[in-house]
């Protein structure tokens, strides 16, 4: 063996750089490969991807799996239900959190700290445990199998983050900018929507993307609160077709999985900048 000689500065940097690249390469492959594998599985016939030796390079590329999904009306229903629930959740979360965030940022009132801590603490409550009694409660209110019920339950996923985040964002907007509008006789509510909201746009985009992801991702609320087949959302549909028409049909499963991922992945790629800035700022402040 070579005797250990102290490495010079540049040698040390060189070695560090090689190690860093090696580590990045390994982790990246492990983390990116499964998503690529999913897409590759979705564009091949099922018999090609269920052989004992996997094809790392597809030989038979086809879009037949996607055609099947597009023509079956049931999948369109799932997709539609997901889209309706998610858009309603995003819109409601935005309005509610802009209003509440404004109140928390601009006013001092009794019980403010308690209320804010209460809202934040929602994140740590176990959802499945809540769901047990929520289900019975919603059944009494006849909210099972309704969009209203599912959207309401999704608000419990989105509001803690969005209210805290909007509060922090409005904090960073100087009150002086509102004063001019208020002196001109605009009410507080008009000042929120005409002065504060336009200044908050980057924050609003972050909240919208993040709440979209949370609502689109939900499985357990949709599984229990929507039992009728024509009310099911896409994540539940993915799970059901695994026991249903895509049993042992992995290429069909992967095509459906890709379709279920596309809206969030596209949104993420387009708005990544806002998303990451918002998420880190939100976590740091909370």
């Amino acid at each position: 063996m070579r005797p250990r000689v102290p490495l010079s500065q540049s040698q040390r940097q060189q070695r560090q750089r090689v190690l860093a690249y090696l580590f990045i390469a390994v982790v990246m492959v492990v983390f990116i490969a499964p998503s690529v594998w999913m897409v590759l599985g979705s564009i091949q016939p099922n018999r090609e991807i269920t052989k004992d030796t996997p094809n790392f390079i597809p030989r038979n590329v086809t879009l037949a799996n996607y055609e099947r999904i597009a023509t079956e009306p049931q999948f369109r229903t799932y997709f539609q239900n997901s889209l309706i629930t998610t858009s309603a959740t995003v819109l409601l979360s935005l309005v509610i959190s802009i209003h509440a965030g404004y109140a928390f940022s601009r006013y001092r009132f009794v019980g403010k700290r308690l209320l804010m801590t209460g809202i934040l603490s929602v994140q740590m409550f176990p959802k499945v445990a809540i769901l047990i009694t929520l289900f019975a409660f919603f059944a009494r209110l006849e909210l099972i199998n309704t969009y209203e019920g599912l959207v309401l339950s999704h608000l419990s996923l989105t509001l803690p983050f969005s209210v805290w985040f909007m509060k922090a964002f409005i904090d960073s907007i100087p009150f002086e900018l509102e004063e001019a509008a208020l002196i001109d006789g605009a009410g507080r509510l008009r000042s929120i929507w005409q002065v504060v909201v336009p200044l908050c746009l980057p924050g609003i985009v972050s909240v919208a993307v993040y709440t979209f992801m949370l609502s689109w991702n939900d499985f357990v609320f949709a599984l229990t609160l929507m039992s009728q087949d024509d009310m099911r959302t896409l994540p539940v549909g993915v799970n059901l077709s695994y026991i249903g028409q895509f049993q042992n049909d992995w290429s069909g499963m992967m095509a459906l999985s890709t379709v279920a991922s596309l809206p969030v992945v596209i949104m993420f790629i387009l708005l990544q900048r806002f998303m990451i800035a918002g998420l880190t700022a939100g976590a740091l402040k909370a």
Partner: protein, 303 residues
């Protein structure tokens, strides 16, 4: 004088009404969907409330808790959950911290692109992630057995991961880390980027090696972020339902039955709402406890 006071008073009343108007929706929404169900759940956990009793739920002298305790079930659920959570948190922490350190290096080209790619597994729905791993773990046709078994000879041929007494846990941990680690990674990267670069350069000028910079500058400055990230991912994995539900269904023979699976099955498969609620209450209490301890630790390190 009096009129000035009256107008000040009306202004305050108006402000109070406006604040009430602004905050009412969030209070109502979370009250209905979170706080009322929790209180009702605590009540239900003391009731005999099953499909078998065929009468109105009635007080059963803590029987739900006694049953869970005496059968040893609750201990098993907690042990399974803690194993899962600790494995997920540790693995995610090590991977994402090292990756954040490596990518924070200015010498690495294309790190924004790499960061974006790494986050894709965190963006796709959890159900999709779980399903994808079920496919990759298939005994005969799965790619994992092909690589680890046939190519590297690390596992038996046609190993049935999801039905194996110990490997089933490893499988759900891997899938969860794959989906959750990127979240930790973004927080760490943001934290590293906020460390003043001149501090690091000054230390290097004084002859400090990378390990010493890491220990004496990076780690202390990152401590608050590390604490928050750990808390966040602990809470997330403590709550995780989708991955075990889809990949193993809690099996084989309860080896991956975490608290979320146990509570769900008690309430929605066995229709024993009282027992499900009792599991939920003990679960909630332990989460509140963990959060309090971590908050205490954070406030102490900040001082």
């Amino acid at each position: 004088m009096i009129s000035a006071r009256i107008s000040a008073l009306t202004a305050r009343v108006r402000d109070a009404l406006f604040v009430a108007f602004l905050t009412a929706p969030v209070i109502i929404a979370l009250g209905l969907t979170v706080f009322y169900p929790i209180i009702d759940g605590i009540r239900t956990s003391f009731l005999e409330h099953t499909i078998r009793t065929r009468r109105d739920p009635f007080w059963n002298n803590y029987q739900n808790y006694i049953d869970l305790y005496e059968s040893g079930d609750i201990e098993t659920y907690f042990r399974t959950t803690v194993t899962y959570v600790v494995a997920v948190v540790l693995l995610s922490f090590v991977i994402s911290f090292l990756l954040a350190l490596a990518l924070n290096n200015r010498l690495v080209v294309g790190r924004n692109l790499l960061r974006g790619l790494f986050l894709i597994s965190w963006v796709i729905p959890t159900v999709v992630a779980a399903m994808l791993w079920v496919w990759m773990f298939q005994p005969q046709i799965g790619v994992i057995n092909y690589i680890l078994g046939e190519q590297l000879n690390l596992v038996e041929d046609s190993q049935n991961w999801l039905q194996h007494p110990r490997l089933s846990m490893a499988a759900i941990v891997m899938a969860t880390v794959w989906r959750e680690a990127p979240l930790m990674f973004i927080l760490f990267l943001a934290g590293l980027q906020s460390i003043p670069q001149d501090l690091v350069e000054a230390a290097q000028m004084d002859g400090a090696g990378s390990l010493r910079v890491l220990r004496h500058i990076t780690l202390p400055l990152m401590l608050p972020i590390i604490a928050i990230a750990l808390l966040l991912i602990t809470i997330n994995s403590f709550q995780m339902f989708v991955v075990p539900y889809i990949m193993t269904g809690g099996g084989p023979v309860g080896r991956t039955t975490t608290l979320s699976i146990a509570a769900y099955e008690a309430a929605f498969t066995d229709f024993n709402t009282g027992e499900g609620a009792a599991i939920g209450v003990m679960w909630l209490v332990s989460l509140v406890f963990i959060t309090l301890i971590v908050n205490l630790l954070i406030s102490r390190t900040e001082r």
